[in-house]
Amino acid sequence: MEVQAFQSALLSMDRIRVGNLLKESLAREGRMQAIESLVVPAMQAIGTEWEQGRLALAQVYMSGRICEQALDALILEDGPPVATGPRIGLAVFMDQHQLGKRIVASVLKASGYRVLDYGQGLDAETLARLALADRVPMLMVSVLMLHSAMHLKELRQALGTNPEAPVLVVGGAPFRLDPTLGRELGLEAVGESAADAIKFARQYLGVPCPI
């Protein structure tokens, strides 16, 4: 019930109601539990509804932003965050289109993960070097152009296979429009929507520590 109310406040972009619902939940259950029981299910439901054609991308983006801002505001009220959870590297690979990355970042942050943003237009070698140097346990990559997706093989290779290498999670329009593309490129973790970012983060890294 509460999740539904939260979701509809997000979709109608009612920032005040979003803030109030979050505040109540935080006071009642504590930070971690509020994220767990309210934010994550709402963001996942919104992503899934977009995947199924019932919501528009603009709504996914706006709800992610509003949620992230509301959380930031509450956390600031409470004093600075103690960020100890796993860090996830995030980048736009080869091309310049940043909206996918922004949406994924909002959803991850709102779900309690720390995000290390590497920017856009990076080639395989540069991105692998950055991610390996930072020892991120997971690297999420967004692409919009097919030719960028094709070069992901090189990124996979550059990251190597030793146990220290981050888990590579990819997503973006070419993977959605051609569901067999990920398999063809030998990529295991392919996200259909931003909701899948949470799914993979939890699957490989577990639930984040309190922020």
Partner: protein
């Protein structure tokens, strides 16, 4: 039925009648570079290259239109932006030219004559027209004033504008409309037969329909009124079913449809109002075998052809660079073999 020219075929189909066979459009924008052994940047740098390749490819595959379009970021170059070229895909727009919404208070609409890239495009259309004559339609492209801002501002800032600052939104629309109209009409004057009006933001996959109705829909109605030739609205592979009723009221002749939607349903929803153009999956086509190609084309013919009103094409309006020549050849041959009425079935 007597043999038709490509132009008669397309016009008959778009008048919702059956032509001598189903017309097909191969949007081979990038493949011309391969055809001439040039890099993509070299290829687009001269009108003569594009014209030569377009004509050669049309003669080889027998498709029913010539494409006068180079790449979407050329319009962005007209606004002072940068196009980034790569070796194995389409050029993309670089950094947004407007870094904040305040920049929209001082807009200056670029002049078509002042942009070398657009002048090259016009020259392509002129030369195609003089070489190909009247029998083959020449398709131009114009980005809708409503979708161009994704490049001008970046997608996120544009959504902030759309949701948060309607006054500046309309300022930008007014400027973009002046530009789009001038650009569209210059192409028609140069010899383009029709224009694809690219408006992916009109898709229900992109923005909610109540928002479209009060923004992009009004922009489309107003802009298309000022474009003095036929248009095909293309949502660049986004879903269309939820917006067909509105698009049908904008004054456009046809709609480019997504591979994720059923052609039979699309045809019945568009019947008599909009021609349907599509919907082979260009991204999947990169790896299609000959058998898969034939199957996909025949299925589209069976579903789309009855009663006319259908032009076979891809779902986006551009075949990706990686689509092999063999697949394009099989596609074309399948339409020639199975495209006569009753199309797609085992009559031949």
């Amino acid at each position: 039925m007597p043999h038709m020219t490509p132009k008669e075929r397309i016009f008959t189909a778009l008048s919702h009648r059956e032509a001598d066979r189903v017309p097909f459009v191969l949007a081979l924008t990038l493949h011309g570079a391969k055809e001439l052994g040039l890099t993509i940047r070299q290829y687009f740098s001269s009108a003569a290259n594009v014209v030569e390749a377009q004509i050669r490819m049309q003669q080889r595959y027998g498709h029913d239109a010539l494409i006068g379009f180079s790449y979407a970021a050329a319009e962005y170059e007209a606004w002072g932006g940068e196009a980034i070229f790569v070796e194995d895909g389409p050029p993309n727009s670089g950094e947004p030219i407007f870094k904040n919404l305040e920049a929209l208070d001082h807009l200056e609409v670029p002049r078509i004559e002042a942009c070398p890239e657009l002048q090259t495009s016009l020259e392509i259309i002129r030369q195609l027209k003089s070489r190909a004559g009247n029998g083959i339609p020449i398709l131009g492209v114009v980005l809708s004033p409503f979708s161009l801002p994704v490049m001008q501002l970046g997608f996120d800032l544009y959504l902030d504008l759309l949701y948060g600052d309607r006054e500046r939104f309309w300022l930008l629309m007014a400027a973009n409309q002046v530009f789009a109209t001038a650009w569209a009409n210059a192409q028609l004057e140069a010899g383009a037969t029709a224009l694809a009006y690219y408006d992916p933001l009109a898709s229900p996959s992109m923005i909610p329909m109540d928002l479209y109705r009060e923004t992009g829909f009004k922009v489309a109605c107003d802009t298309l009124k000022q474009i003095s030739g036929p248009t095909i609205t293309n949502l660049a592979s986004g879903s269309t079913l939820g917006v067909i009723d509105l698009i049908a009221q904008t004054g456009t002749q046809a709609i480019g449809v997504s591979s994720l939607e059923d052609l039979v349903e699309l045809k019945s929803r568009c019947a008599g109002r909009l021609g349907v153009v599509g919907n082979l999956n260009g991204l999947a086509m990169v790896r299609w075998t000959a058998k898969e190609t034939e199957q996909a084309v025949r299925e589209a013919l069976v579903k789309g052809a009855p009663g006319g009103g259908f032009v076979l094409s891809d779902n986006h309006g551009e075949l990706p660079w990686g689509v092999p020549d063999e697949v394009i050849g099989t596609l074309a041959e399948t339409v020639r073999t199975w495209g006569q009425y009753p199309a797609g079935s085992d009559h031949a």
